[in-house]
């Protein structure tokens, strides 16, 4: 009996113990909160890098591979508060040209208190060597990983990457280039001494690429970058533009500021030889291992109906998606993709469709006569049709307030795209002027005319914005960067 009793109680204990263990395992965990210290260091001074003048490759009077610059872009710079902006001219590096052509480092104290956020933009227009056009771009926060979606190296297209090291230490920069045929084999390595600029012609790396995109990664100093494309079709200037960095790969991108004028003229002109790159396109690159489907949603500022395009993008190949059937107006493109992509857009303008495509008249004609003399000798190119193009980068969402520098240029418009699901009322205030309220519908686009100078946007959280120019001097658009140079809180664990 005793044995049976013991066996029963032993079995009972084991069963009860297993049940107890099972119950214990269902309990919520007890313990101590992980220690997380949230620390916010004081912000560093604000910095912006302006890329400087457009750069020509093998300009008359120079060797074929020489890089030179002649124009002096105009800058608009300032802060949204009372702080003033200091200016440093960077070393001109491998680009010859006057002091005015150099890249600039702009600095301002951290945006705490009444200092305000810094903003700057530059523009240049008119003839530059064998091309003429409007090139405007925003000055950018130097970084270590920048993406540029623009350019081509087919015949007549010259694409030059400008790198400016704004920091006090040497920057080891790796430049990775993608083309419509896939990525270039090896990244190009560029060493940038502190506070200097270097330019790199993509033709030297990839030849005859109809579409290019570039990733700039820097070890060491942080750099600013810009990609310049100039186009010459035979004897006719095809325009010039300076494109700033776009947004790093993501599955959602917004490209505001696609300002299309006289689309009929562009469409008719694009039927000619070597003019296929006049059509407006959205350029996409999926830099990851796999491609994916991309949906482009085009919305107009006039409240017109949105259009949706779908395209498959293969991995590593730069793909241009024509924006067919988009009429005149101000548009934004919302890109959604199954894989991370970088995006940009190109638009063109043909101001005088009846103009001559070549200039057979004598040299020395004035610029206004529609042709450009280069150095008084040699070739001339015709600008009679007034062709220009613009590369438009994707824009990052803004914070609650943003400072906007509007560079000088023809009829600047502030284009606002709302990727959020709620309509937003943005206050736009010019420096010293009164504020106006612009309402941006959900998933929609709005545009308002602005004047050159500093603007301040408030209640802009989630919006993307760009400044778009269009006029006799050509086309240009650059995105408005969010004012996010302040130090952010960091969760520190151990």
């Amino acid at each position: 009996m005793a044995v049976r009793l013991r066996v029963l109680s032993a079995a009972g204990i084991v069963t009860a113990g297993v049940v107890a263990a099972a119950l214990v395992a269902q309990l919520p965990a007890v313990g101590l909160e992980p220690h997380v210290a949230v620390a916010t260091p004081s912000s560093a001074g604000q910095r912006l890098v302006c890329p400087g003048a457009t750069i020509a490759v093998g300009a008359p009077g120079h060797a074929a591979a020489d890089l030179s610059a002649s124009a002096s872009p105009e800058r608009v710079q300032g802060t949204s508060g009372s702080a003033s902006v200091a200016l440093t001219t960077l070393a001109r590096g491998n680009v010859s040209g006057g002091k005015g052509t150099a890249a600039r480092l702009l600095t301002a104290p951290a945006a705490a208190g009444r200092n305000g956020a810094i903003a700057a933009a530059q523009s240049q227009s008119g003839a530059d060597g064998d091309v003429a056009g409007l090139a405007a771009t925003g000055c950018v926060v130097p970084g270590n990983d920048l993406w540029l979606v623009a350019g081509a190296t087919t015949t007549g297209r010259t694409t030059v990457l400008t790198l400016a090291n704004a920091s006090g230490v040497t920057a080891q920069v790796a430049v990775r280039i993608w083309t419509d045929h896939g990525p270039a084999a090896e990244p190009s390595q560029v060493t940038l001494p502190p506070r200097s600029r270097q330019a790199l012609s993509l033709s030297g790396v990839v030849t005859n690429a109809a579409a290019t995109a570039v990733e700039v990664t820097s070890t060491g100093g942080q750099v600013g970058a810009a990609l310049e494309q100039r186009t010459v079709r035979g004897l006719e200037s095809g325009g010039v533009d300076l494109a700033g960095p776009t947004v790093a790969p993501a599955t959602a991108q917004t490209i505001p500021g696609i300002r299309i004028v006289d689309s009929a003229a562009v469409a008719s002109a694009s039927g000619g030889p070597d003019t296929a790159d006049l059509v407006p396109v959205v350029r996409l690159l999926a830099p990851g291992r796999s491609g994916g489907d991309v949906v482009l949603r085009v919305t107009g500022a006039d409240g017109g109906t949105a259009r949706t395009l779908t395209k498959h993008v293969s991995a590593g190949a730069v793909t241009d998606v024509p924006l067919a059937g988009i009429g005149d107006g101000v548009w934004s493109v919302a890109v959604t993709s199954s894989v991370p992509v970088v995006a940009g857009a190109r638009i063109s303008v043909v101001q005088n469709a009846g103009g001559s495509t070549t200039d057979t008249t004598a040299t020395g004609s004035t610029e206004t006569a529609g042709s450009i003399g280069t150095g008084g000798s040699g070739t001339t190119t015709s600008t009679a049709r007034g062709i220009d193009f613009a590369w438009i980068a994707a824009a990052r969402p803004l914070g609650a307030s943003a400072a906007v520098a509007v560079a000088r240029g023809p009829s600047p418009k502030l284009v606002l795209a709302n990727p959020t699901a709620a309509a937003l009322q943005v206050q736009v205030a010019a420096a010293g002027g009164s504020a106006t309220t612009v309402s941006v519908p959900a998933h929609g686009t709005a545009a308002t005319d602005v004047a050159a100078g500093m603007l301040t946007l408030t209640r802009a959280t989630g919006l993307t914005a760009a400044i778009a120019y269009s006029g006799g001097e050509g086309l240009a658009t650059y995105p408005v960067a969010p004012a996010d140079q302040a130090a952010h809180p960091v969760r520190v664990t151990h």
Partner: protein, 1020 residues
């Protein structure tokens, strides 16, 4: 002039002896002329007994009086006139004389007129044929010794007659000599009074003689005696009295110039003798030695001066005259040798580890272990998983107690108890402490097999099943998982657990086992503090069981159970106090060592996580080792869930065997097994719910493997018992020869069943066992430095040079870790840092936050203050959040002119702080004081050291040594053959199982005689 004898009986309360003694005196063939009874106290019963005899004088003294005082009172009360032929016959209440005792004594003294003191033969009260005392003497150093052994009297000592001294009981002393000598020395109230009197008589020129024909009984230590020394006197008190008497005599007998020397050596000798008592496993007598030394040291002067004066007055010959009567050294040594022999004979027969297959098993497993860990051969240190190198000896011993910890910004606080384990471990290979950890890795499997084998000897005498037990313990999944994860503490828990079990079996019997268990318990608690609740529960249960048992030895058993937690408590108390002060008491339960990455949650067939976890724990696995299991099931093409199911199923055969052991039990076993098994299981389940540390911001559960080791003890026990039952089952009829053959066959069969179950577990654990050979192990051979080589090189000159390691986190934050010199070593770590953020401060946090983004802060002051020379930015995890954080941090560090990138490797990018001050990091312990530098630190060290030292002395296996350490245990009459043997046999437990069963079930159900034969275990 006729001889006149005055008998003086010192009567204590004790009717059973006194009545017999009084009767014996009245039956003397030569009656004493006067009979003086000196009654101690005034108990009416005793008074009436004495009055019935009608003594000549019935005197009273206070109940507290000693023997000497009572005799003096009796002599005074007798009112003797001076006369040469007056004799005093001294008796105590248990000294019943033989009828002719006085007559024989008187005959002897009449024949030899120079004899002043004559002593009878003292026989044992219970066994009157056995000697109790027959003459006393001293060793050359003055220790009092009996001349005769307590053995059957065959007249073997009768030739001796001239001796140094005789016992007081039954002593016949010449009254004038008594008067001349002044009686007994009042400074020797309890012991050695007769010896001292006889020595003085000898010095005064008289003889002391033994009379073999005269016999007097003595009850020995059961004698009522006096209040000072009687039946109720405890052994420690006897030790104290004996030592006091010896010291007093030493001071009295020594030549005058030597007296100060003797006096000065009293205290040091007292300490040494106390340690000797510990080594003899008599911890209760150690304070008695100290107390005796202190008492004599402080209060000896009046008594010594008086006694020396008396000797000086009466002495007529030199000390050399008694020298021949002392016991010569040769005899002293012979006696001790005999004692040792007796002691050895009493020890139980040892488990035959060498011949019984244990050694062979251990060696075989050792060979396999070396083969499995071949890549680690010759490694200077191990790193990876939870392993780090050990620091040098200075650092190891500097990390214990209470002192500075060079973690983070540095802090002062109590060390983890595990730091002491590491210090001891590292000291084993003092020339290069990290080697000890490598050795542990090589020896873990064989030691586990040996431990399992030894534990199995308790449950089976079948060799093959013992081997199954050894393999079972070495193949425990929790053990293999701990090895794989580099969990040194968990490995130690598993290695120690069977030895703790063995010690627990012997706590009833021996102080040595009790101290061993206390130390092993402290080791378990230090290695796995999450076991603390279980250990505390066990202790309380043992206390209750010991306290509830109404047996005569319950008190001594309780005394051996009570101090069990002492070493654990002194080790962990400072930590508890500090955590309590900080409000994070649960942090005490954190596992020592580096914080591992969180392990994946259990997930099985869509069961709730909790249930899957319990299944995993029941199968013996402390963590969900998905990748290892998948690699095991890869050839079968199974998915994640199916492979997990397969691995868990491989434990089932063993659990079935354990179930057999429980439901088909040896009588005493199942409940204990059940309790051990489920107790460990619940402890393990609790551990999985205990999130006291965090890997970055991810909480990490405590290691469940320690609890599983305890549970596995139960599984081992039940499975081995089950196999043993299977092997013993169903004896078939037939001749003895057939039966033997069948039994052998059955044993073989069950061994094969057992080995199959073990093999199944081994298959499940094979990916872990083979990981080292296949190069998939997380534990790797490592150098002494765990920082990048360039930092280690610079740290040779700058042991305090800081390396700040930043790891980007998925939430965009950063995890920082500041190490010094050649990198963190195991003993530097502290659970205070991992659970309560000791050493973390705003400086370090804000510095880290400022390093990972551009900042306007000047980073030089914090970098200089923390003596940081390098920053290592690790790549972090592969998720997008970590990658972006790594990019941002790399950008910020790369563009900071304060830093230059030194190297980039898979470990990350190393940046050097270019403005590092020349003096930075030259010393390591500038930030925090050493553990000996503060009074608190010293106090902690002294308390911990003395408690652990005492326990260690008590625990040392000194079976042979104990006999040699002075003083030799006093001679005791053996328990006479007849008395009480039946009762003793009925109560003596036969096996630990039975003992435990009795403890659990009470005496009524235990001790069924037929059990005894079945339960005969192998060591008997």
């Amino acid at each position: 002039m006729p001889t006149s004898v005055t008998a003086i009986l010192v009567a204590a309360d004790g009717a059973e002896y006194l009545r017999d003694t009084l009767d014996a005196i009245t039956l003397q063939t030569r009656l004493p002329d006067r009979f003086v009874v000196v009654q101690l106290g005034s108990s009416p019963v005793t008074t009436s007994i004495i009055a019935a005899i009608e003594p000549t004088v019935h005197a009273h003294v206070g109940p507290r009086a000693g023997f000497g005082l009572a005799v003096a009172r009796g002599v005074r009360a007798a009112g003797l006139e001076a006369g040469d032929d007056q004799w005093l016959w001294l008796l105590a209440s248990d000294n019943a004389p033989a009828p002719d005792a006085l007559e024989r004594l008187l005959q002897a003294v009449e024949l030899a007129p120079s004899v002043a003191i004559a002593g009878p033969k003292q026989m044992q009260w219970d066994a009157p044929d056995y000697l109790h005392s027959y003459g006393e003497t001293m060793t050359p150093w003055g220790t009092a010794v009996e001349l005769a052994e307590p053995e059957l009297d065959q007249a073997q000592y009768d030739r001796q007659s001239d001796v140094l001294a005789v016992a007081a009981g039954g002593m016949l002393v010449k009254e004038p000599v008594w008067r001349e000598l002044g009686g007994f020395d009042p400074s020797l109230p309890a012991l050695d009074d007769a010896l001292d009197l006889c020595v003085r008589a000898r010095l005064a020129g008289h003889r002391v003689q033994l009379v073999p024909a005269a016999r007097v009984l003595s009850a020995g230590i059961d004698a009522p005696g006096t209040r000072l020394l009687g039946a109720s006197t405890t052994e420690p008190r006897r030790v104290r009295l004996r030592r006091e008497a010896q010291l007093h005599r030493r001071l009295v007998y020594a030549p005058l110039p030597a007296v100060p020397l003797h006096w000065l050596t009293i205290l040091p000798l007292g300490v040494a003798r106390a340690i000797g008592q510990l080594l003899r496993k008599e911890p209760g007598s150690a304070p008695a030695e100290l107390m005796a030394a202190l008492l004599v040291f402080a209060t000896c002067f009046p008594g010594v001066i008086r006694a020396r004066g008396r000797i000086a007055r009466t002495r007529s010959t030199g000390w050399s005259s008694i020298a021949p009567l002392r016991q010569p050294w040769r005899e002293v040594r012979r006696r001790r040798g005999l004692l040792r022999e007796n002691g050895r004979a009493r020890r139980r027969e040892p488990v035959r580890f060498l011949a019984g297959g244990g050694l062979a098993l251990t060696l075989a497993v050792a060979a396999i272990s070396v083969a499995l860990h071949l890549p680690l051969l010759g490694a200077p240190a191990l790193a990876g998983g939870g392993l780090l190198p050990l620091g040098d000896l200075g650092s190891l011993w500097g990390s214990i107690g209470w002192g500075g910890h060079p973690l983070g910004q540095g802090f002062s606080g109590p060390a983890d108890p595990f730091a002491l384990v590491l210090a001891v471990l590292g000291t084993l290979t003092f020339w290069h402490p990290s080697t000890a950890v490598v050795l542990v890795w090589f020896l873990a499997l064989p030691v586990a097999a040996a431990g399992g084998w030894l534990a199995a000897t308790r449950f089976t005498r079948r060799r093959s099943l013992r081997i199954v037990g050894g393999l079972l313990w070495a193949a425990a999944p929790t053990f293999l998982a701990a090895m794989d994860a580099g969990r040194l503490p968990a490995v130690l828990v598993h290695l120690v657990a069977p030895f703790a079990l063995l010690a627990a079996f012997s706590v009833r019997r021996s102080w040595s086992a009790s101290a061993t268990l206390a130390l092993l318990g402290a080791l378990l608690a230090a290695c796995s503090p999450s076991l603390l609740p279980v250990l505390a529960g066990c202790w309380i249960a043992a206390l209750v069981v010991a306290a509830l048992r109404p047996t005569p030895d319950a008190r001594s058993r309780l005394a051996r159970v009570i101090p069990l937690p002492l070493p654990t408590v002194v080790l962990i108390l400072p930590l508890i106090a500090e955590q309590l002060k900080h409000g994070s008491l649960l942090g005490v339960l954190a596992d020592p060592g580096p914080v591992p990455a969180a392990s994946p949650r259990a997930h099985l067939l869509g069961l709730p996580d909790g249930l899957a976890t319990v299944l995993q724990l029941i199968a013996g696995w402390p963590v969900w080792l998905e990748s290892a299991w998948r690699s095991l099931a890869l050839p079968l093409g199974l998915g994640a869930s199916a492979s997990a199911l397969l691995v868990l199923a491989l434990s089932v055969p063993l659990l079935v065997l354990a179930a057999v052991g429980i439901v088909w039990p040896r009588r005493s076993m199942p409940i204990r097994v059940g309790i051990a098994g489920v107790g460990g299981l619940i402890a393990a389940a609790l551990a999985t719910r205990l999130d006291v540390v965090a890997d970055g911001a991810t909480p990490v559960a405590a290691w469940a493997g320690a609890g599983l080791s305890i549970a596995w003890l139960g599984v081992l026990e039940a499975a081995v018992c089950g196999l043993d039952r299977l092997a013993a089952a169903g004896a078939l009829p037939g001749g003895a020869r057939t039966a033997r053959a069948m039994s052998r066959l059955r044993t073989l069969g069950t061994a094969i069943v057992g080995l199959t179950a073990v093999a199944a577990v081994l298959v499940a654990g094979s990916p872990l066992l083979l990981a080292q050979v296949l190069g998939a192990a997380s534990v790797q051979a490592s150098g002494q430095a765990t920082v990048p080589a360039i930092v280690a090189a610079e740290a040779a000159d700058r042991p305090g040079l800081g390396l700040l390691t930043l790891t980007p986190q998925p939430d965009g934050g950063v995890r920082e870790q500041l190490s010094r010199g050649a990198g963190r070593t195991l003993e530097q770590l502290s659970t205070l840092a991992t659970t309560a953020d000791f050493g973390e401060g705003s400086t370090l946090a804000s510095l880290s936050a400022a390093l990972v983004q551009p900042t306007g802060d000047d980073l030089r002051p914090p970098l200089d203050a923390l003596e940081i020379g390098y920053v290592l930015l690790t790549p972090g995890a592969a998720d997008p959040g970590s990658r972006q954080a790594a990019l941002d941090a790399g950008a910020a560090l790369g563009s900071d002119p304060l830093f230059s990138a030194v190297s980039t490797s898979s470990a990350g990018t190393l940046y050097r702080y270019v403005d590092l001050p020349e003096a930075a990091g030259r010393t390591l312990d500038a930030a925090a004081p050493r553990n000996t530098a503060t009074p608190l630190g010293l106090l902690v060290l002294v308390v911990q050291g003395s408690v652990l030292g005492l326990m260690l002395l008590l625990a040392l296996p000194t079976g042979r040594l104990a006999g040699r350490v002075r003083p030799a245990p006093p001679l005791r009459a053996p328990v006479a053959d007849v008395a009480n043997t039946h009762a003793a046999a009925a109560h003596r437990p036969v096996t630990p199982e039975q003992a435990m069963a009795r403890e659990l079930l009470g005496p009524a159900q235990a001790a069924e005689p037929e059990d005894v034969r079945e339960e005969v275990a192998a060591w008997q």
